[in-house]
C-alpha cells in the first residue's frame, strides 16, 4: 500500500477542489502574460506545470487556452514544450482557439534551432483541427526538405497526421510521392523508417478505393526496395528493424537462392536481445520457407534455442508473448520441442498466465512423447495450493488422456485425484472422467467403482455435478445406489440452482428408469412434476417432452433418450485447420495470443498493413465447426439421442431440404446483377445501356432475357508457379465467392479427387494444390486468359458431409471473374459434381 503521499508533497500539485482553482490559475497566467520581469519564466514554468497536471488527472483546463497561448511567447524551450503539450490536447475541442496558436507555431517552424523547428512542426501537425490544415501544408513541405534529420523525421510523421485529418489535402499536396523519394534517398534511418510506416498506412487506407494506391502498396514489396532496406538493416533502430522485417515477411522471392541469401543476411538477428525483433526474424524465415519442406524443418530447429532463451530471460510479460508463439509452433510441429519438455515445467514463482501457457505446451508435447514424465509432473501441480493452476493441471492431464491411445496409467492418476478429497480437484476430475468414458467406455468399471463413492453432497460446481449425474444415469445398471442418489437429488429439486444440472437430472432419471424401472419410477415422477413446474423454459420444455414421450410409447421413448451409443473417436477440434493456418500467417501478432485470426477481433481498418484483405467469415458452415456452436452441455445431451458422428446431419439435413436454402436462386440473381455491373461499366456489349435503363424503369429483370455471357477463352497451357500463386492470393481481393450444392454423384467421385483434377485440366483450369481429407476437400485452381496474361485463382472447398462446395475466385481482371465463374461451374457440372 502506498502511503497517502499527496498531502506531504508540497511542490507537486494537489487535487483542486473545484473550478475556483482553474480561475485562479487563469488570473495568474494573465498577470504573467505580458510581463518581462526577470525570473518570470520560472513562475510561468510552475503555473504551466500545474495546468498540465490538472490536465493529466482529467480536469478540464481548456478554458485557459487563451492565456496559455499568450504566455507561450518565450524563448524558454521547457515552457514551449509544455505549451505544445497543452495545445495538442485541447486544440481539437477548441478549433476557434486553436487558430490563435497557428501564428506562433508557424513562426517557430522557421526558428534557427532545429529542435524548435521540429517541436513546433510536431505540435502544428498534432492539432487535429480539420479547417486548419491549410496552415500545415507549407511547414510540412519545408520540413521534409529541412537540413536537419530531426525535423525531417517529425515532418514525415506529420504527413501521416495530416492524412488522418484530411486525406484529400495530403494527397493533393503530393506528399506520398515526396516520401517515396525520401525513403530511398535519406541518409537518416529513422526518417526512412518513418517514411515506410507512413506510406504503409496511407496506401493501405487508400488501397480499398483506389487501384493505384493498392499498386503503390504492393510496390513497397518490390525487390529493389526490400534489398535496399535489408542491406542497411543493421543501421536502423531495433524498432525500425521490426518494421522492415514485417515487410520482408510478405515479400515473395523469385527463387531459392534469394531465399537463402535473405536468411543468411538475417541469421544474426536471431541473437538479438529484443524479443520482438527475434520473432519478426523468425516470421520471415518461416514464411520464406513455407514451400520448402526440408528447409522449413531446419528453420524450426534453428529457432528453437533463441526462443527458449527469450522465454527464460525476459520479463514475465515477454515470456508470455513468446510462449504463445511457441505454442503455435508446437501445434504445427509437435515433435519439435519434445526433448526440451522440461523447459515448460512450471516454476514456483511464475505468473499465472505464464504457467497456464506452459501447461498448454506440456499438453501438446505429451500427446507425442514423454507422456509419462509429463503427466507425473502435472500431477504434482494438481496438489498445489495455487487453486487455478491445480485446476488447469487436472484439465491438462484430461486433455492428454483424451489424445492418447494408451490411457492405462492416466486413468489411474485421474482416479487418484478423486482420493485427494479436495472439492475443486474432485469437481475438475469428474468432468474429465465423464469425457473419458465417452471415449473409452471400456474403463467404465474402474471409474464407476471410484465415482460411486463420491457423495453428490460434496459436489457444488454445476459442471461437476452435471457430470456426476450424467454418469449416474448412463451407468445406473452398474452403480448400486444410482436410483437412490438421483431420487434424493430429485426430492431436493428446488435447492438446485443450476438449470444445467436440472436438465441433466431429468435425462439421467429417464435413462435410469429404462434400466431399473421399479427403483426409479417414483424419482422420475417427482422430477417430471417438478420439471414441468420449473420456471426455466428449457427445463420445463424438456420435462414436458419426456412426459409426453413416455405417455406415447415407452419403448420409443427409450430409443430416443437412451439408444445404444458408439464411443466418441475424436472430440471435435474447436479450430478448423483453415483458422490455424490463418493464425500462422499472422505470426508475431495478437492473433497468436488470442488464438484467433485478426478478423475475429479487429475491425477491417485496423488489421494493420499487409493483412489479408479477404474475409473468411463463411468458414463457419463447415460441419465440424457448426457442431461446435452447440453449447457444451447441450452437446452431451444431444449425444444421448444420436451418435456423435451424426451430430451434423440432423441440422444440415433439415436445412437443405428447405426451399429457401436452394443456393441456385441467389446465384442466378447475383449472376445477372453483376453482369449488369459489367455492362454498366461499358466494358462489353453496347446493348447494356438500354438494359440498365429497363431496370431503372422498374421493368424487372425477370422479363429481360439474361444477356449472353461474355466470351472468355482460357489458355490450356497456362503456367503459374506456386510462389506467384501464393503472392497473388494474398494480394488480390475476393472478386466472387459462391456456394454450390454438390450432387451425390459428385460426392462419390471425390473418393478419387485425381479424376476431378484431370477433368478440370481438360477445361484449361489447372490445379495447383490440394489438401484436406474426408469430409472436407480443398483445391486451389488457376487459369489464364488465352489472349493475355491475366490470371484467375480459385479456392474450392468441397464438403462431402454437407454436400456443398464453397468457392472463392480472385482475378487480375475483376471484370471477367463472373464469366470465369460461369466456365468453372459448367466444368464442374459436366463432371457431374453439381
Amino acid at each position: 500500500m502506498a502511503p497517502p503521499a499527496r498531502s506531504s508533497q508540497s511542490s507537486s500539485p494537489s487535487q483542486p477542489s473545484g473550478k475556483g482553482e482553474v480561475s485562479d490559475l487563469k488570473s495568474q497566467l494573465r498577470q504573467l502574460a505580458g510581463s518581462r520581469a526577470p525570473g518570470v519564466d520560472d513562475s510561468k514554468r510552475d503555473l504551466f506545470k500545474k495546468v498540465i497536471s490538472y490536465m493529466t488527472i482529467g480536469i478540464d483546463v481548456s478554458s485557459l487556452f487563451g492565456e496559455m497561448v499568450m504566455c507561450s511567447a518565450t524563448s524558454d524551450v521547457v515552457l514551449k514544450k509544455m505549451c505544445y503539450l497543452y495545445v495538442g490536447n485541447y486544440a481539437k475541442v477548441n478549433p476557434d482557439l486553436a487558430l490563435l496558436t497557428i501564428n506562433f507555431l508557424q513562426r517557430d517552424c522557421k526558428d534557427e534551432d532545429p529542435m524548435i523547428r521540429g517541436l513546433a512542426l510536431r505540435s502544428l501537425s498534432s492539432l487535429r483541427v480539420p479547417n486548419l490544415v491549410e496552415y500545415l501544408v507549407g511547414p510540412l513541405g519545408s520540413g521534409l526538405k529541412d537540413s536537419n534529420s530531426y525535423v525531417r523525421m517529425v515532418a514525415v510523421i506529420g504527413v501521416l497526421k495530416l492524412y488522418h485529418i484530411s486525406s484529400a489535402t495530403c494527397m493533393d499536396a503530393d506528399f506520398p510521392s515526396i516520401l517515396k523519394n525520401l525513403m530511398i534517398n535519406d541518409r537518416d534511418t529513422q526518417v526512412v523508417a518513418n517514411c515506410l510506416s507512413t506510406l504503409q498506412e496511407i496506401w493501405t487506407a487508400e488501397g480499398s478505393n483506389s487501384e493505384e494506391a493498392s499498386r503503390e502498396r504492393d510496390a513497397l514489396l518490390c525487390k529493389p526496395l526490400i534489398y535496399y532496406l535489408l542491406n542497411r538493416i543493421k543501421e536502423f533502430s531495433e524498432w525500425a528493424q521490426c518494421l522492415i522485417l514485417e515487410l520482408v515477411a510478405k515479400y515473395v522471392p523469385s527463387g531459392n537462392n534469394e531465399i537463402f541469401d535473405i536468411m543468411n543476411l538475417l541469421e544474426d538477428r536471431l541473437q538479438h536481445a529484443n524479443g520482438a525483433l527475434v520473432l519478426a526474424t523468425i516470421k520471415v524465415f518461416l514464411q520464406l520457407t513455407l514451400l520448402m519442406t526440408d528447409v522449413h524443418q531446419q528453420v524450426y530447429e534453428r529457432i528453437k534455442a533463441p526462443l527458449l532463451t527469450l522465454v527464460s530471460s525476459g520479463s514475465p510479460e515477454q515470456s508470455y508473448a513468446v510462449l504463445g508463439h511457441l505454442h503455435l509452433l508446437v501445434m504445427r510441429a509437435p515433435m519439435l520441442f519434445s526433448s526440451d519438455y522440461k523447459h515448460f515445467y512450471c516454476q514456483y514463482n511464475e505468473a499465472f498466465y505464464v504457467k497456464k501457457l506452459k501447461l498448454e505446451m506440456l499438453t501438446a508435447i505429451a500427446s507425442e512423447s514423454y507422456t509419462y514424465e509429463i503427466v507425473t509432473e502435472l500431477c504434482e501441480y494438481a496438489a498445489n495450493v495455487d487453486v487455478p493452476i491445480a485446476r488447469e493441471s487436472i484439465r491438462a492431464v484430461g486433455k492428454i488422456a483424451l489424445q492418447q491411445y494408451d490411457v492405462n496409467a492416466i486413468v489411474d492418476r485421474l482416479l487418484q485425484f478423486l482420493e485427494m478429497e479436495k472439492d475443486y480437484v474432485t469437481a475438475e476430475t469428474l468432468v474429465l472422467v465423464k469425457d473419458l468414458l465417452r471415449k473409452y467406455p471400456q474403463w467404465s468399471h474402474d471409474c464407476i467403482a471410484v465415482v460411486g463413492n463420491i457423495s453428490s453432497k460434496n459436489i457444488q460446481e454445476p459442471k461437476a455435478k452435471a457430470a456426476l449425474i450424467w454418469m449416474l444415469g448412463e451407468y445406473s445398471q452398474d452403480m448400486q445406489d444410482a436410483p437412490y442418489i438421483l431420487e434424493s437429488l430429485a426430492e431436493n429439486w428446488d435447492d438446485e440452482h443450476s438449470p444445467e444440472v436440472r436438465l441433466h437430472l431429468l435425462t439421467a432419471l429417464m435413462k435410469c428408469f429404462f434400466k431399473r424401472p421399479p427403483e426409479s419410477q417414483k424419482a422420475l415422477g417427482i422430477a417430471l412434476a417438478a420439471g414441468v413446474a420449473d420456471f426455466h423454459q428449457d427445463v420445463h420444455d424438456r420435462a414436458l417432452f419426456y412426459y409426453r414421450l413416455l405417455r406415447y410409447d415407452i419403448s420409443i421413448a427409450e430409443r430416443v433418450v437412451n439408444p445404444p451409443k458408439q464411443a466418441v473417436s475424436v472430440f471435435a477440434d474447436p479450430q478448423s485447420s483453415e483458422i490455424k493456418d490463418r493464425i500462422f500467417d499472422e505470426f508475431n501478432s495478437l492473433s497468436v495470443l488470442y488464438q484467433k485470426p485478426s478478423y475475429m477481433f479487429t475491425d477491417k481498418e485496423h488489421r494493420g498493413p499487409f493483412e489479408f484483405s479477404d474475409e473468411l467469415g463463411n468458414l463457419s458452415i463447415e460441419p465440424d465447426v457448426s457442431a461446435q456452436h452447440v453449447e457444451a452441455d447441450d452437446e452431451d445431451l444431444l449425444l444421448s439421442t444420436s451418435e456423435k458422428g451424426d451430430v451434423g446431419f440432423p441440422l444440415n439435413g433439415s436445412s437443405y431440404s428447405a426451399p429457401s436454402y436452394d443456393s441456385s436462386k441467389p446465384l442466378t440473381a447475383s449472376n445477372t446483377s453483376s453482369d449488369l455491373a459489367i455492362l454498366e461499366t461499358g466494358v462489353h456489349h453496347q446493348a447494356s445501356a438500354s438494359l440498365a435503363i429497363d431496370d431503372l424503369l422498374g421493368l424487372g429483370l425477370s422479363t429481360t432475357p439474361a444477356p449472353a455471357p461474355p466470351t472468355l477463352s482460357l489458355n490450356p497451357k497456362a503456367i503459374l508457379d506456386p510462389g506467384t500463386f501464393q503472392q497473388k492470393w494474398r494480394q488480390l481481393p475476393v472478386s466472387l465467392s459462391l456456394e454450390l450444392n454438390v450432387s451425390p454423384r459428385g460426392v462419390a467421385a471425390l473418393t478419387a479427387p485425381q479424376a476431378l483434377i484431370m477433368h478440370m485440366q481438360g477445361n484449361s483450369i489447372h490445379c495447383i494444390a490440394t489438401g484436406g481429407q474426408s469430409p472436407n476437400f480443398k483445391f486451389f485452381f488457376f487459369a489464364q486468359k488465352s489472349e493475355e496474361l491475366s490470371n484467375f485463382l480459385v479456392e474450392c472447398i468441397i464438403s462431402t458431409s454437407s454436400s456443398k462446395a464453397q468457392m472463392k475466385i480472385k482475378a487480375d481482371d475483376q471484370n471477367s471473374s463472373q464469366a470465369f465463374s460461369a466456365l468453372f461451374e459448367t466444368a464442374l457440372s459436366n463432371f457431374g459434381m453439381l
Partner: protein
C-alpha cells in the same frame, strides 16, 4: 503502432496519460483497470489477468514495474512482443532519467516524463528508446525524490570490491542530474547476475536445473568511450544439437558452456568469436535492482496463502539450519498429507559468487588521458529463481 500510453498506480490512479492517435475512447484507463482488477477466466476469479487482452476491439497491453502499471492500447493487430518490450523500455528510460522509478518520482517529474514520451513515440510509432540519443532532446531537469524515503537496497549494500564499499545509492542517480563537469563521478557498473532454478523430487533427485544469467551494465562515464569486456576464453555456445539436459563434462576445467545467448543492440561482436570480447560504446544497457533482503531469523505462518515463511538473515557456508513445524488441521484429513504439505521453496541471494563460472576477465575503457581512471564496479551475484524441493 500504439494509440495510447498510460501509467496507473496500484490503486488505479492515472499518473501519466499520453494519447498519441485519438483512436481509443477516453474511458480506457478505467476500463483497463477494472478488467485487470476483477479478471475472470472460465468463471474463476482467482486467475490473474494476462499482459494482453481485448475489450470491445481495443487491445490493452500492460507490464508491472515497481508496483506501477505501464499500459499501451491500440486497435491494430500489432506484435505483442514489440509493445510489451516497448513498455519495459519506456520504464527503463524513465528510470534512467529520474534515478528512481516510483509513483512519487513520476508525479514530481511528470513534465519530464511527457517530454520523454513525446520523443520516444510519435503518432504511435517508436522513434527512439535509447537513453543516450534522447539526452539531446530533453530539457527538463529531474526533481530527485528524497533518498531517505527509498526502500533500502538491501543486498546491494553487501557488494564490496577490495576494501572499497560500493556506494549503495549509485544506481539511483539520474543520468542527466548533476551534469556539472568535475562534480560528476566517473564510474561504471557491470553486474553478472545469475538466476538459478532447481527442482528436487521427493527422493532428492534433480528433476530440472537451469541458470539464466545476464551481464548488465550501467555507465556514468562522460563522452561515450569504447568499452571492452573480456569473458572466459573457454566459452562455448550451443551444445551442437544435444538436449540441454544431456550433461557432459561442462564443469571443472574452467570451461563454460552456454546453451544460447543474445546481445543488446549496442554490443559489437567483431572479436567475440575470436577472443570472447564484447565491445560497445558507452551506453546505459540496463539497470540493476534487487529485492530488499530478509531481516533477522523469523518464522511465521501466513494464513492467506497457507505458507510457512522462514527468514534467515545470513547462512554461513557449510552450516546447517533446522526448522520444526507442527501442522494442526481443523478437520480430519484423509488425503496424502506429505503431498499436501509442500513443496519447500527457497529464495536466496549469494553475493560475489556465480554458479556458471562465467567471468569478466577484464573491463577496458578507452583512455582519454593518462589520469583518466574511472571507478569500475564488477559484481557477481547468484539469486534463486525457483529453488524447490518436493516432499
Amino acid at each position: 503502432m500504439i494509440s495510447q500510453f498510460f501509467v496507473l498506480s496500484q490503486r488505479g490512479d492515472n499518473i501519466v496519460l499520453r494519447d498519441y492517435r485519438g483512436e481509443v475512447q477516453k474511458g480506457s484507463t478505467e476500463i483497463f483497470f477494472r478488467k485487470v482488477k476483477f479478471w475472470k477466466e472460465d468463471g474463476q476469479e482467482e486467475a490473474q489477468a494476462p499482459p494482453v487482452f481485448n475489450v470491445d476491439g481495443v487491445n490493452y497491453f500492460h507490464v508491472k514495474i515497481a508496483g506501477l502499471l505501464f499500459v499501451a492500447t491500440t486497435r491494430v493487430n500489432v506484435s505483442p512482443s514489440l509493445v510489451l518490450e516497448l513498455l519495459q523500455r519506456i520504464a527503463r528510460v524513465i528510470k534512467d532519467y529520474l534515478g528512481v522509478l516510483s509513483e512519487e518520482s513520476l508525479r514530481k517529474n511528470f513534465v519530464l516524463v511527457y517530454e520523454l514520451l513525446d520523443e520516444i513515440i510519435d503518432f504511435g510509432y517508436v522513434q527512439s528508446t535509447s537513453t543516450e540519443v534522447l539526452k539531446s532532446y530533453i530539457f527538463n531537469e529531474p526533481i530527485m525524490v528524497d533518498a531517505a524515503r527509498l526502500t533500502p537496497l538491501g543486498p546491494a549494500a553487501i557488494f564490496m570490491q577490495g576494501s572499497k564499499r560500493m556506494p549503495g545509492t549509485a544506481v539511483t542517480k539520474s543520468v542527466i542530474a548533476n551534469e556539472t563537469p568535475g562534480k560528476r563521478r566517473e564510474e561504471i557498473f557491470v553486474d553478472i547476475i545469475e538466476k538459478i532454478s532447481v527442482t528436487f523430487s521427493s527422493s532428492g533427485y534433480i528433476l530440472t536445473s537451469e541458470i539464466d544469467g545476464t551481464i548488465q551494465m550501467k555507465s556514468y562515464l562522460t563522452g561515450s568511450p569504447e568499452i571492452r569486456i573480456a569473458l572466459n576464453e573457454e566459452l562455448n555456445i550451443g551444445r551442437g544439437g544435444r538436449s540441454i539436459y544431456d550433461y557432459r563434462s561442462s564443469t571443472g576445467s574452467g570451461a563454460v558452456i552456454l546453451d544460447d545467448c543474445n546481445f543488446h543492440e549496442s554490443v559489437r561482436l567483431d572479436s567475440f568469436d575470436i577472443d570472447r570480447t564484447l565491445s560497445l560504446v558507452s551506453e546505459i544497457l540496463a539497470t540493476f535492482e534487487l529485492e530488499p533482503g530478509a531481516s533477522g531469523q523469523t518464522a511465521d505462518f501466513k494464513e492467506a496463502n497457507k505458507k510457512i515463511e522462514w527468514n534467515l538473515k545470513k547462512i554461513i557456508g557449510g552450516s546447517e539450519q533446522t526448522l520444526r513445524a507442527k501442522l494442526t488441521f481443523s478437520q480430519e484429513f484423509h488425503g496424502n498429507i506429505t503431498k499436501e504439505s509442500g513443496p519447500v521453496s527457497m529464495t536466496f541471494i549469494i553475493p560475489m559468487y556465480n554458479a556458471s563460472g562465467l567471468q569478466v576477465k577484464y573491463l577496458q575503457i578507452a583512455k582519454k588521458s593518462s589520469t583518466y581512471n574511472p571507478y569500475r564496479w564488477v559484481r557477481y551475484v547468484t539469486q534463486a529463481n525457483s529453488y524447490v524441493a518436493r516432499l
